[in-house]
Symmetry: C2
Subunit: 131 residues, 2 copies
DNA sequence: GCTTGACCTTCCCATAATAGGAAGCGCCAC
DNA sequence: GTGGCGCTTCCTATTATGGGAAGGTCAAGC
């Protein structure tokens, strides 16, 4: 299987597959023509990576998860700790974004949004809430 | 006022002030010694930028907001549209992160997290939810 | 056997926002 | 007049991804 097929089978672009190899996340065999060669097991790893990325794990965490996945004797405790840390990070980020959205929505509700120039949004940005 | 004072007065690092100038967000006069010189109005702009950044506006949006802010004859409609678009983007992002957090938290609840190797988190990442 | 087109290779560049650091000069206080 | 701080520019790194150029390879069709 060449890289294009592996890309289609895993949902990861060929570009990113090469990148993941370059940063040591995965490895790939080479054929006589120097083309990268992938087996089903490699595709499974790529899919694993994609699922982890879909859950927002940074590549550094993906690397550790992948190592744990490959290791049949791993302790599930480490996986759980990694996952819970990540959950906390995700929730913190989501909360922060929601807070931003809410304060901005609050501002927009007081802006009539017509052709007139006065605008509480700009006024607020212009120095009101100092910190 | 030199860049260090402007940085302290605005809460934006000198590094970033130079960067904002380099990308055309702001401009600064120069003194006889080629040092950047800032007036109170410049500090006000920097503070405006920081507030907008605090609300999560990308610099591209900040640039437009800043142009609107400088323009006394602007229509508040454009500001409001920009702000509402950004609110929508923030909320979408927050929702996406919350969804990630929730599915991951769900997985962790089924992982006993001890020294045993079996782990539903890894199993799930390993191919269960295909898409 | 040669062309064509799809695929592969490597290497460079770009994004967004911020930070760290090096090398060199200016300036003020002591 | 010197020490130390501040300023200058330029280079590098981060995170994850994509775009593109220049060139090699392979299979199909004529």
């Amino acid at each position: 299987m060449n890289i294009g097929d592996a890309a289609r089978a895993s949902g990861i672009s060929a570009k990113m597959i090469r990148h993941y190899e370059a940063i040591g996340l995965i490895s790939a065999g080479r054929g006589a023509n120097q083309y990268r060669v992938y087996a089903q097991a490699d595709v499974a790893e790529l899919r694993f990576i994609r699922h982890a990325r879909d859950l927002g794990f940074p590549l550094q965490d993906v690397k550790r998860l992948l190592d744990l996945w490959r290791n049949r004797a791993r302790a599930s405790a480490e996986v759980k700790r990694l996952a819970l840390d990540h959950v906390a990070a995700l929730e913190a980020k989501a909360k922060s974004l929601s807070a931003m959205a809410e304060s901005l929505r609050h501002l927009t509700e007081h802006c009539h949004g017509d052709e007139r120039p006065d605008c509480p949004i700009l006024e607020e940005l212009g120095g009101a809430f100092s910190s």
